[in-house]
């Protein structure tokens, strides 16, 4: 049963104002094209989460789409602090988002708990830090502390997260939504499986037969998936292993632009609002930086070996 739709349809049908959204990626396979479409559609009041957020989250915060952020970290990597994130929290521009803060261990564990139907999980980090002293919109349920009934040790328990929708970008998926990745995983599988439904955006749609030739690569099964969008270069300016490199040049442009509110707004206008879809985005990229610049991003040829599942 094909679930293939356009990005416009996927976002308008499955992401509503006020939704709790998991956005996959870790520089690797960020669903940038989906985030741009969320911005174009003017969706508001989102609760967003992922470990190690980057420029994509910064932009969502900058346009005012985010109300709440279950976070561990937000930065622009080599380009330093997230400018929109800072403006929001330091100056309330465009508004002050609410942040519930965890770590790159505890937050993935909370998504894993959600994915596995566990009500909560113990975590060995957080203890002794001021992260336990601050509680935001999750209140008392940010965490609970118990003495372990096994050995009496003080133990921090963190609750399961179950986002309304998870959006991930993967290398390939079939029309039904069976989604395959390789390379750096981040919290992509647990985040998607924790979500009530999943939007899969992918570099290429492949046949169910191709999926079946290597089923151990599948991270989300079709029945969890509500929409499939074929979106080549969908993670740019992030990267997708085997497809294209990270684009430090555009990252630098974003940092420079987002130093000021005006610069940020001009960047969003140029790269998001004035472009109807990712095809237009790529064309704009080629116009700005030349086909040579676009071509340079493409992955070199470096294939591995096939395996057999036969008996």
């Amino acid at each position: 049963m094909s679930k293939v739709v356009s990005m416009k349809e996927a976002i308008s049908q499955h992401v509503s104002d006020g939704a709790f959204v998991y956005l996959g990626g870790y520089i690797c396979r960020s669903p940038s094209a989906a985030i741009h479409e969320i911005i174009r559609q003017g969706i508001k009041d989102l609760t967003v989460t992922r470990a190690n957020a980057a420029d994509d989250f910064d932009m969502l915060i900058g346009v005012g789409a985010v109300r709440r952020f279950i976070s561990t970290f937000l930065s622009l990597g080599v380009y330093g602090l997230g400018r929109c994130y800072r403006r929001s929290l330091e100056k309330g521009i465009p508004h002050k988002i609410e942040v519930e803060e965890y770590t790159n261990l505890s937050l993935p564990l909370m998504l894993m708990a959600g994915a596995m139907g566990l009500p909560f999980l113990p975590t060995k980090d957080l203890a002794g830090s001021d992260l336990l002293k601050i509680r935001s919109f999750m209140g008392e349920n940010k965490y609970r502390q118990i003495d372990s009934p096994f050995d009496g040790r003080p133990t921090v328990l963190v609750p399961a997260l179950t986002p309304d929708v998870g959006i991930i970008h993967v290398q390939q998926a079939d029309e039904d939504g069976n989604a395959q990745i390789w390379g750096i995983g981040g919290d992509c599988q647990v985040g998607a499986m924790a979500s009530k439904k999943v939007i899969v955006t992918c570099e290429r749609i492949v046949s169910r037969e191709t999926i079946g030739k290597d089923p151990s690569r599948t991270i989300v099964p079709a029945f969890k998936v509500a929409a499939v969008v074929e979106e080549p270069f969908g993670a740019h300016p992030g990267y997708t292993p085997g497809f294209y490199d990270v684009d430090f040049g555009l990252g630098y442009l974003y940092q420079q632009a987002s130093n000021t509110v005006e610069g940020f707004e001009a960047f969003v206008k140029e790269w998001v609002l004035d472009l109807p879809d990712r095809t237009a985005y790529i064309q704009h990229y080629i116009q700005r930086f030349g086909y040579q610049g676009f071509k340079k991003l493409q992955a070199k040829f470096d294939y591995g070996y096939p395996v057999s599942y036969a008996y």
């Binding site: 800072r86 803060e101 790159n104 261990l105 894993m112 001021d130 003080p154 750096i184 995983g185």
Partner: protein, 265 residues
């Protein structure tokens, strides 16, 4: 090839980090300094050390310097790639990580680290990125190496916010709140000195001073009453072998000079 005895401060600091790594250690590295330190160790006295990135990569073989822990160059050739729950859970939380590197906008005398905010949390003067992997690494790696700029703003009597616990408020505090035994910061490597932690007081003290620095200068730039080890002595300069590896193998273009621009002089 450059003069084998010539070195800059960031290279000395990287060598100080490398010397804390033992053969067969599993080291969780980020980019820059920690990666350089771990690589120096691997190419000298610790050939069986394994480097790990929190994003999910184990024993990467990058062909260019990784600019983030999720850099594309970490994928091809790695020994294993999973995700955050694999590295932060199965490796770090399960006690398999021997060494972790941390840095922060503020580091205090108990080795607590702040990467959350300068000023009050609710109305920050400066909002920083947050914990990311720092808190779990500082909580759970067997040995923590802290890299810091040595001045009265980066070092602190008490950090504004404990993102990552060092010895918190002193002896016994880690154990009391449930952190695993035998963990905690081991050393603060600054651009002026190497500080270690007194097992009695859990306070950082001056262990060695870098060749061009004086004890007085270091104490003046430390915002707490810095104790000095009875056997305090100059930091061992990079050995010929360490410099050879740095200059010929790991960093022929001396990209480490960017740290000098950031004040690591």
């Amino acid at each position: 090839m450059s003069d084998a005895k010539e070195y800059i401060k960031p290279e000395l600091m990287a060598c100080c980090g490398a010397r804390e790594i033992s053969d067969h250690d599993v080291v969780i590295v980020g980019t820059g300094f920690p990666a350089m330190a771990a690589n120096i160790a691997k190419y000298t006295h610790a050939p069986h050390a394994t480097m790990v990135q929190e994003s999910g990569v184990i024993d990467a073989r990058p062909l260019r310097p990784a600019l983030s822990v999720g850099d594309p160059c970490l994928n091809p050739g790695a020994a294993m790639i999973g995700g955050l729950v694999d590295v932060m859970g199965m490796l770090l939380q399960a006690g398999n990580i021997n060494v972790g590197f941390l840095s922060g906008s503020q580091v205090d005398k108990f080795g607590n680290i702040n990467t959350t905010c300068i000023g009050p949390y609710e109305a920050p003067k400066s909002r920083l990125p947050g914990s990311g992997g720092a808190n779990p690494i500082g909580s759970l790696a067997r040995k923590i190496l802290i890299i810091a700029l040595h001045d009265r703003r980066r070092l602190a009597e008490k950090v504004d916010f404990i993102t990552t616990p060092g010895y918190i408020d002193g002896p016994g505090a880690r154990e009391k709140c449930g952190l695993p035994a035998g963990t905690g910061p081991s050393v603060i490597i600054t651009n002026k000195a190497v500080l270690r932690f007194d097992p009695e007081t859990c306070e950082a003290y001056l262990a060695t001073y870098h060749p061009d620095c004086t004890i007085e200068e270091i104490r003046a730039n430390t915002p707490w009453d810095l104790k000095v080890a009875p056997d305090v002595h100059p930091t061992e300069p990079p050995t010929a072998e360490e410099l050879r590896v740095l200059h010929e193998v790991l960093d022929p273009h001396r990209m480490i000079r960017i740290y000098e621009q950031r004040g690591y002089v």
